[in-house]
Symmetry: C2
Subunit: 311 residues, 2 copies
C-alpha cells in the first residue's frame, strides 16, 4: 500500500496518543499505531470497566482510565472515538486536562453537530481538527478492531477556518500512515455525502429488517432460512452499533430527512411503474446500476469477487 | 456437506438433462452435474450465438442448440433457466418435443406466474414440478456459474396438486446431490416469502443507487469514492441481471406492492422519529436487528466474518 517511509526511524510519530473510546475504531487505531510506530505511549479511556478489562487483556494501550481527563494528560494527539451524541460531554470533561499545543480530533460520522458540540470546549492553543475515517464493520467493542481497517479507505477532515497548518500536516501524516487517503471538505458537505453513502443505507437496512420481522404471513424463521436471496446483506448493516446509529440520525437530521424524502419519491415512482406494468422503465433504471458497481470496484472500494467473496 | 452417496456407482442419476438457458444458474447446474455425475448427457440451449460459443469454450454441455425444442429431445429432465417473463413462451416451444415421462422444472424466482404461464403447455405424461433454488450472485452469463453455488442453500418446490410422487422424489434427489436442502410450499406462500427475503431487498437496492446517482449536491464520483460507509453493499444487489429483475417485479406484482407498502409505512414512522428526535424509539428498533443477523449466521446462511470477510 501507500505507507510512507517516514516512520522507518525509531522515533514514534507522536510521543503520546490518547484514545477516548476503545470500540471498533479506537481499538483499530491502537493496533495500527503499534504496527506503524505512531505513538510512543498509548493511553486508553472507556466508560465501562468491562471494556477496560478487555482492552487490557488485548494490550491495546499502555495505561487505562475510566476518566477521560486522566487519559489525555500529556497527550500530543487525542482521538474522540465515542458516539456522536457523547462528543460534547467528553470534550467538556477533558478540556481542562488537554496539553497546550495538542491536536484534538474525532472519528464521528457527523461533522457539523460534532463541531457545534465540541468547539466551545476547546481551550486556546489546542488544535481541534474534526475528522472521519470512512471505514468500519458491523462489529463493535474492543475485540472488533484490526490494524488494516483503514487501508485504502478515505479519511475526511472538515477543518475549521483557523486551523493550524502544521497540526493539519501532522494529522494527515498520521492517517496516511494507517493506509488511509485524506480528503478535506466542509462539514456541511461531509454530512450530505455521508448521508447518502452511509446514513441512508443504514436507515434503509434497519427499516427492512424491521418490516420483515413484523410480517404476520411470513415467519421470522422463514425470513432467516431464505435470507440468501438478498435480505442477509441488509442484516449486516443493520447489525451495526445501535447507539452509534441512533446518534448519527439525531445529529444529521436535516440531511437524512432530505435524502430520505428523495429516496421515498423515487420509490413511489418505482411502485407506480410496477403497478402499471411499465417493464421498459424498470429495465432502464435497473441497467444503470451495474456501471456504478463497476466503478466502485475500479476505485478499490469493494471486491470484484461475486457475493463479496464470502464463504 | 450432506452429499448423498447414491451417486457413488457409475450410472448417472439422469440419462439426459436439458438446460434451457445457460446463465448463472444454468452454468452452475452444468458444473455440479459433471462433478456429481447427475447427467449422462447434457444438452444446452441459449438464445444467442454468443452464449452458445462461450458455453462451448467452457465445455458446459455435450450438445448446443439455439432452438430449445431441439435441446429437450430425449431429455429425462428439463430445466427452464430463463427470465420469469420468458417461461411461457419457452414452454410453448418445447412442449411438442418433450419426452413422455420427462420431468420439467424451472428455477424462476416467482412461482404463481410461472405456473400460470407454463402449465397450459405441459403435455400429458410430462411431470411439471416448479422449483426455485435460493442461490445466486450479482453476476450473470455462462461464465458466472460454479459447482458450489447451491451448497447449503434451499431449493423450494411448489408442486401442483396432482404431482407424481416418484418424479418429485427424483428431483429432490437431484437437488440434494447439488448440496441443497429441499423445502415444499404453495406458490402463493413462496411468492410472499421471496417477496420479503429477495424481491423487496433488490428493489430497495436498485432504488437507493438511483437516488444517489441523481443527487445534484453530491457528485457520482463522491458517491463512489466514499461508498465503503455502507452504500457499496447495495450496489452489489443492484448489479444483478436487469432483465431477470424486471420480470420478477412484473410477475410478483401483488406481493411486492403489498410488502413495499409496509416498508414505506415503517419508513415513515422512522422518518417521524428522526424528525421529532425520538432517540429511545430509534434505539429500540435498531437493537432488534442484531439478533436476526446472528440467527442467519447460525442457520449457515451467511458468514460471521466482519464485512462478509471481503478483501
Amino acid at each position: 500500500m501507500n505507507m510512507p517511509s517516514a516512520q522507518d526511524d525509531e522515533r514514534p510519530m507522536f510521543d503520546k496518543v490518547a484514545l477516548i473510546g476503545l470500540g471498533l475504531i479506537g481499538s483499530s487505531l491502537a493496533h495500527v499505531m503499534r504496527r506503524e510506530n505512531l505513538a510512543g505511549r498509548i493511553s486508553g479511556a472507556a466508560r465501562s470497566e468491562e471494556t477496560i478489562t478487555r482492552a487490557r487483556e488485548l494490550g491495546l494501550a499502555d495505561e487505562y482510565h475510566t476518566d477521560p481527563a486522566a487519559a489525555v494528560q500529556d497527550a500530543d494527539l487525542v482521538f474522540l472515538n465515542v458516539p456522536v451524541g457523547a462528543m460534547g460531554k467528553v470534550a467538556e470533561k477533558i478540556a481542562p486536562a488537554l496539553k497546550p499545543g495538542a491536536i484534538l480530533t474525532d472519528v464521528g460520522s457527523v461533522k457539523a453537530a460534532v463541531i457545534r458540540d465540541v468547539s466551545p470546549h476547546v481551550p486556546e492553543g489546542v488544535h481541534f481538527i474534526p475528522g472521519h475515517p470512512i471505514a468500519g464493520t458491523e462489529q463493535s467493542g474492543p475485540d472488533a478492531g484490526f490494524a488494516e481497517l483503514f487501508e485504502n479507505r478515505w479519511c475526511i477532515f472538515t477543518p475549521l477556518p483557523d486551523t493550524d497548518e502544521e497540526a493539519l500536516r501532522r494529522l494527515t501524516a498520521f492517517w496516511q500512515a494507517t493506509g488511509a487517503h485524506v480528503e478535506t471538505m466542509t462539514p456541511e458537505h461531509h454530512d450530505l455525502v455521508l448521508g447518502i453513502t452511509s446514513h441512508l443505507p443504514h436507515l434503509i437496512a434497519y427499516n427492512i429488517v424491521a418490516t420483515a420481522a413484523d410480517l404476520e404471513e411470513v415467519t421470522e424463521s422463514e425470513v432467516i432460512k431464505y435470507s440468501a436471496g438478498g435480505f442477509r446483506d441488509f442484516t449486516r448493516l443493520a447489525a451495526s452499533d445501535p447507539v452509534m446509529w441512533r446518534d448519527v440520525f439525531l445529529n444529521n437530521r436535516e440531511a437524512v430527512l432530505e435524502l430520505l424524502g428523495r429516496f421515498m419519491e423515487d420509490l413511489s415512482a418505482l411502485q407506480r411503474a410496477i403497478r402499471w406494468g411499465e417493464g421498459e422503465k424498470l429495465h432502464e433504471l435497473f441497467k444503470r446500476s451495474r456501471r456504478i458497481r463497476r466503478e466502485i470496484i475500479e476505485a478499490g472500494q469493494d471486491t470484484a469477487a461475486p457475493g463479496f467473496g464470502r464463504r
